[in-house]
Structures are given as C-alpha cells and as structure tokens.
Amino acid sequence: MKTKPPSPWKQAIQAGLIGGAIAVLLSLVGMVAAFGERFIVSGWFTMGQVLFLAPILLLSYRGVRRIVERSSWIILLSGMLSGLIGSAFLAALFLIGQLINLRAMFVNASPQLYELLTFGKDVIPGILTLLVVGMAMGGFAAGVSILPTRLRSAIIQALLLVVLVGLLRDLISTVIAQWVVKGKVFPAWVQWANSVILFLSDFTKRQVFAASGLRPQSAIVLFALIGGWMYWGATKPRPAAQSGALNKRQPYKRILMFSGVVIIILLLPLVLGIFFAEILDNVGLYILMGLGLNIVVGFAGLLDLGYVAFYAIGAYTMGVLTSPELGFYNMSYWQALPIAMVASILAGLLLGLPVLKMRGDYLAIVTLGFGEIVRLLALSDWLRPWLGGTQGIQRIAQPRIGGMVLNTQQELYYLFLVGIAIVAFIAWRLKDSRVGRAWMALREDEDVAKAMGINHVTTKLLAFATGALFSGIAGTIFAAKLQSVYPHSMNFLVSINVLSLIIIGGMGSIPGVFVGALALVAAPDLLREFAEYRYLAYGAVLVAMMLTRPEGLWPEERRRLELHEEKELLFAKEPAGPIEEEFKEELTPTSSASG
C-alpha cells in the first residue's frame, strides 16, 4: 500500500505520460481521422478531436483525484501540467510527421490526422493551439474535480449528453423527420399535430443542428439545460418508496409501464421502417444467441468460445432439409425446425462430453477448436455434396403462416420476438430452478458442488445442450432470413461478438443480454465509422470492464455481490450513496500485494 502520498507533480507527469501515449495510439490507429469528419459542435470540434483529447482529460482527472493536497491552486496547476504533457506527445507526433514520412509504416498517419491535431491551422499556431487546448483540458479536469459532487456530476453528465447528441445528429433528425406525415386528406387535429411536428423537425434540422453536429449556440443551451436539470434534480430527496418499492407497492403503475413497453415493442418495426427493422432483427439474433451463451458462461461458468458451431449447425440443418438445391429433402421451415433443434442439442452433448473434466482454460481452447472444426467442415470440398461447400446453400425456405410467407424484415421481427419471448422465459425459469442453482454451484466451486451431491455430468451436459439449442434456433431464423447460408458467416468473430455482449451486459443476467445486444449490435450499425474499429473497441471494453466492473452493465444481483465482496461487507445492499462514491477508489482491487 502507499506509505507516502506521491507528490502532485509526479502524479501529473505520470498522468500526462499515460494520457499522451493513449492519445497518440488512438491517432495512429486511425480512429481520430475516421471520426474526424463528424462534428460534435459544428465549427468547434469534431468527434476525432474528442477522441484524442478525451484520454488527456480523463487521465488528468484521474491523476488529480489521487492528489491529497487541499490547495486548489496546486491541483489546478498539476492538472494543467498533465494536460500539457499529454498534448506535448501529440505535438511531437505531429512534428515528427512533418519531418519524416510516417505513413510508410503507420498507414493512418495521414494528412487528415495532422489537420485534426492542429485544429486546421498552420504548423506553429497549430502546435501552440494544441498545447494550449491540452493545458485547458487538464485544468478543466482539475477544476471539475474540486467542485462539490452535485455540481461535478451535473457538469459531467451534461457534457456527455451534449457529445452524444452531437454524435447522433443523423439518427435524431431522421427519426424526427419520420414523424412528418405525407399526404393530403386528414382530420384537422392531425394536420395541426403535423404542422407542429414539421416545425419541430425544421427547427431541429436548421436551428439545433448544423450540417454536421450541433450548432454552437444550441450546444451551449443544451449543456445549460441538461446541467441545470441534473443539478436541481439531484437535490430532491429520494423517498424510499420510489426506488425499489415501485414494484411492490404500486402494482398498477407497474402494469401500466409494462404494457406501455409491450405496445412500443410490438409497434416498433411498423413505425421505424425497414432499415431499423433490419437492425432490430440483427439485435434479435444476437439476443437469442446471447441468452444461450448466457446459460453456458453466465450460469454454469463454462467458457465456450466455439459457440458459433451450434449456430452453424442450426443454420445448416435448416438449409440441408429445406433447400431444393441439394436435393435431399424439401421440407418447410416448421417441419425442419424441430429436427434442427434436435441436431443442435445433440451437438451440444457431443461437445460437452469430452470437456467434462477439463479445466476452464482448456475448455475455452477446445471449444474454440470445435467452432473452427465445424466451420472448416462446412467449407470443405469433402462435404460439399452434403453441405454445399464454398458455395453454401441457397433457396432456403422461409416460414409460412397460413398463406403468408414471412420474408420481410418487419415480419421476421415478430418471429424473432416470439422466439426471444419463449427462450427468455425458459432461461428465466431455469435460472431460479434447481438446475439453475446447480449450475451456479458448479460455477463457484466444482469440488464442493460435487461433494454436495450435484451430478456434474448431467448438469454440465444440460448447460451445453440448452445453450446449443438456443443458438441453433437463432441459426435457423438466420438461414431463413437470408434464404441462404455460407460457411464464411460462421466464423470465430461471431462467437466473440456474443461473448462480448453477454459480458458487457452482465454475465448471468438476462436483462443484461438485452442491454449488451443493443449496445454492441446497434452501435456499429448506427455509427458507421465505428464499424471499422469494432473489435478494437470490444477488446478494450472487455478488458476495461473486467478491471473495473466485471459484473457488467446490468448485473445479476448475486454476481455483483460476489465480485465486490469488500463492498458487500461494508454496505449492505444500499444504492450507491455519496460515501461509497468517495471510497470507490480505495475499494477497487488495484493492489498487487495480494498476488
């Protein structure tokens, strides 16, 4: 542990070094240039600049928080110092880039990057601007840290929201523009509402936003509004009746909210159009798979990296059975579905058998291998007569209900919805059942579980089989949606996608799967630039989450307590209050002496 608090200057230098290094890394990787086209506040700064200033800002903030000094001036100065050092790194990068051609090695050290670094100015004024801005960021971070908690959290949240709104400009204006009703003959009240909406849409497009990003005035106004709202909202005492008791004491409110949510979900695709239905379909696909992997990894603690294998088996079974191309069978979707389900379950059992006795790490690699084997087999020329080989399988049947074929994104959305509802229900009931508890016992300590009489064979096999089943179902819908299946889609990255989303959402937590899927599947579709750096972000977020919040974004209560045992001992199940905020740093496991 620390014996003497380190001097504020050392802290500042350290923070500056790390922040600068991260900023340079982000620049060289190309994220800064990629996001550089998107203005957050038009004319002031772009998302790219946010990306290289953010590490400096955050690291300065962190460095400053560790200082024990009370003198505000020293805090401010050390903050500015770390900001300066951080931006010095970037300035150095820029200067080196002017002297030698960095692009031969670092492909993303492009002219656009340099322009962003110097805020569009020439060399000397650009560097000066960069350094000054860096210092300002550091100082701002220091200043914010001195402020009282309420004000600070208000400012931080307002800032984040402003950046978010600027970032999502396209999305917001598209959604608003969609409200505008086209057509001629409608009742008067609709006309009136329509004109209001038109006005709003116009106002948003022209006054609030600029061609890209927010207008400066609106950014300031938005910041003030949100900041103020947060600030005054935080002063109201939270009556105990509101936090958890909403569920118990006011059933009517709960039912109303619930049915409201259900109606929204049912109407979503009709309202949002085909493109959003497409995104929602993909989210649904990953939710289905996530629910399955959640059981294997979250409940039973078995790290399965080859999850895509079951997905492939479900999709290929559907393909082989329903496509007239291969000539074997010509079933309909509904006829082939139970067979695909059985095939997935068998595959799950087949995978589970050899790995019953393996340790966690080996299990991961073996399942990875299994996933790759299935992909290679599907791709191989050897099995081409049965599985289609490289060319995949086409003309897969789509589900029919009555006379209607479900082949548009909106119609498939409802199929997904039904599937998810059933699967989520099963998962939820399993969680609280004996089997679920057996899984969690196995997860915690296998030897003790065995000693308590839990049959680890059947329990583990059941976990694999259930996970495989859910994934297989997702695979069948995927095959039907695309009407074809190619082996190239069944790769390791799919497994990683699903793993990331359940971990980020919360291992073992069912709502967490939804949160994770929305975050990880919808985000790259909505922010195109982000799609390039998707896996880089996944990797970073996974590491960051494991370091700070391993229980995920929407954690399962039990998990959260397990992973933060120290907190549980000190504060029993209370929502995070100001005291806990203050001691948060001390409580996070960073010490190495326990190694």
Binding site: F106, G360, Y533, L536, T590, G595
Partner: protein, 353 residues
C-alpha cells in the same frame, strides 16, 4: 476389483473413450492406406518431415511463452499470439529498409541480429505491458475474469496493430545467402529451414539454461511452486512474474523472425492460428514443462506437415490440406481425453478446476 472399476467409470467416460478411439482408428487406417498406395516417395516424406521440424522449432519458441506463464499464473495467456505477431510485423519495416539500402545482403548476419533484437524488444514490451495493465490487477479474481481479459486483450492488440500498420500484409526480403538449399542424398534442406531449426534449438537451450541454472530461474520455479511462500522467502513476486512475461515475449519475438524466414509474408492476423497450435504443443508436452513444450512442438509441427496427406489421403478425402487446422484441433482433443497432463507430465502441483 471389478466393482470398484464399475464405480469409477461412468457412461460418459465410455463415450468419451469411444470418441478418442475412433479418432485413433481413423488415423491408423488412413496412414496404412496412404503408405500402401505408395503415392508419395520417401524423398517427399523426408521433405515434409523437415518442413515439420522447422515449423516445430518455431512453435516451440512460441509455446515457451504459454508454458512459462501458465506455470506461474495458472492461466492461459490468450494474448500471447498477438505478442508473437507484434515482433515480426514491426521488424518487417526495418527489414525492408535494410534491403533497400543493400545492407541486408552485404551483412546478413548483422542484419539478422538487428531484426531479432527489434522483434524481441517489441514483443517483450507488449508482453510486459499486458502483464502490467491487464493481468496484474486481476491476480486474485475468480478464474473466468482473467481469461476474458486475456481474450479481450488479444482482440485489442490484433486490431490495434491492424490500425497501426494497415490490414494489408508486408513481405520480408530474404537475404540472398539464405535463398537456396543443400542436399544430402534424399534429404533436402533449405537454408532458411536450417537457420530456423538451429535458431530454435539455440534459443531453447538458452531459455532452458536460464530456467534451470540461474538464480532468476530458481526464483521463477519457486514462484510457480508456491507464490506466498516465495514471497515470504524474500522473492519479489511482481518482478519475477514480469521477468517471466519478458522471457516469454522475447522468445515469441525470436520465433516471429524465424517464422518470417520460413513464410515471408506477415499481417495482423498471422498470430492467431500459430498461437493455438503452439498452445496445443505446450499442452501436449505437459504444461509448465519447458522440455515438454519443445517436444510437443516438434510433434505438432510434424503432424501438421505430414498429417493431412498421411492420415486423410489414404481415406480418399479430397482436399485434405483444407482440413489441416482441423487435424491440429482434433489432436488437442485427443490428448486432453487420454493424457490431459501431457507426455512429459505437468510440473505443477495439482491445480484446482
């Protein structure tokens, strides 16, 4: 006695053994069929065998990283494949610069040493950063957490390097002195293969020497035996763990240059499959066991080179080399079914699940 046997073996054990035996049967039948058909000459098998040896040497160096880290931390460093990739992918720019200036061909030995130094340095740095940032804070966390961190780190590193150097690939220039081959009768050795095999042997001996005969090696073995007691004995556990990662990283960096000599095209994805194969090798030989890693790697290299033709060709499987990687994974499952502690056995205390 029969009764105790029946109590100890369950249905699943029988099924699992069944899977293992069927794999074995397939391999044996295929081998016999291929050799009987006489489609390939002895010279061909020798050629493939030598390729396998060279490849195995490279895998051995990568496997060192896995086995050393597992010995000390009881965890698979998933990101080690990216540690392997970072070295040669960075050094290729130096190599191209050297080739352009003509230095590469004038002073091949010096150039090679420079490249090795750069590659090992970069890989070491990445390994150390990994340990410091991602693994050290999580030493006490439940099993799953560092494993997931490792996976996340692996992806992060892969795509970071993709962002830094581009998604395309770079080619290594081969110095003229290393182009060409030597032939003894039926055996043909390419110069690059000779360098790879000798280089791997040399590195292995050095590493083995460090681990067995130096004070630091002794400290490493102590820490891997029991961390707390070692700390009580005055060993700086953090430093030793860092040294372990550094050694593993340096070894991987050297492996990278040797790999580049054999297959001169590098890109950001090059570490993934060799990483898995090296891990298989480490497990095959006995994880935590340095000599075991070497042995396992040689075997894996040979199987990979000779396997697709030997096992599958005789069975009439078309395009067997497409299934090359599948064979490697199947071998892994095979070992883990029948001898999970590896050929030379683990040098660890019994680990908990």
């Amino acid at each position: 006695m029969l009764r105790t046997w029946r109590q100890r073996i369950e249905l699943t054990d029988i099924l699992v053994w069944g899977i293992g035996i069927s794999i074995g049967v397939v391999v044996i039948v295929g081998t016999i069929a291929t050799l009987k058909s006489g489609k390939y000459s002895t010279a061909t098998w020798l050629d493939l065998g030598i390729k396998g040896l060279a490849l195995g040497g490279v895998y051995a160096l990568i496997a060192m990283g896995y086995t050393l880290v597992y010995g000390i931390l009881r965890m698979i460093n998933f990101a080690h494949s990216e540690v392997f990739m970072s070295g040669p992918f960075t050094a290729v720019f130096l190599a191209n610069a050297l080739a352009r200036s003509g230095f590469l061909n004038k002073q091949p030995v010096v150039s090679l040493i420079l490249l090795l130094a750069l590659s090992m340095g970069v890989s070491m740095t990445i390994a150390l950063l990994l340990e410091r940032i991602a693994y050290r804070p999580l030493r006490a966390a439940p099993r799953l957490v560092p494993l997931i961190t490792a996976i996340g780190a692996s992806f992060f590193l892969q795509y970071t390097f993709r962002g830094l150097y581009g998604s395309g690939f770079q080619t290594y220039p081969i110095p003229t002195i290393l182009q060409g081959n030597i032939t003894f009768g039926q055996i043909r050795l390419f110069n690059t293969q000779i360098v790879a095999i000798l280089g791997a042997l040399a590195m292995m001996l050095i590493l083995y020497g460090i681990v067995q005969w130096t004070k630091i090696g002794k400290a490493m073995r102590a820490v891997s035996e029991d961390k707390e007691v070692a700390a009580l004995m005055g060993i700086d556990v953090d430093r030793i763990i860092a040294v372990t990662f550094a050694l593993g990283g340096a070894s991987a960096g050297a492996a990278g240059i040797l790999y580049a000599l054999l297959f001169p095209v590098v890109n950001f994805f090059m570490g993934f499959i060799p990483g898995i194969k090296a891990f298989t090798a480490a497990v095959l030989g006995g994880i935590g066991n340095v000599a075991g890693a070497f042995l396992g790697a040689i075997i894996i290299g040979l199987i990979e080179s000779v396997g697709p033709l030997l096992f599958l060709d005789g069975l009439g499987v078309p395009t067997p080399s497409q299934l090359k990687d599948a064979i490697a994974f199947t071998i892994l499952v095979f070992i883990l079914i029948f001898r999970p502690t590896g050929i030379l056995g683990e040098r660890l205390a019994q680990a908990k699940a």
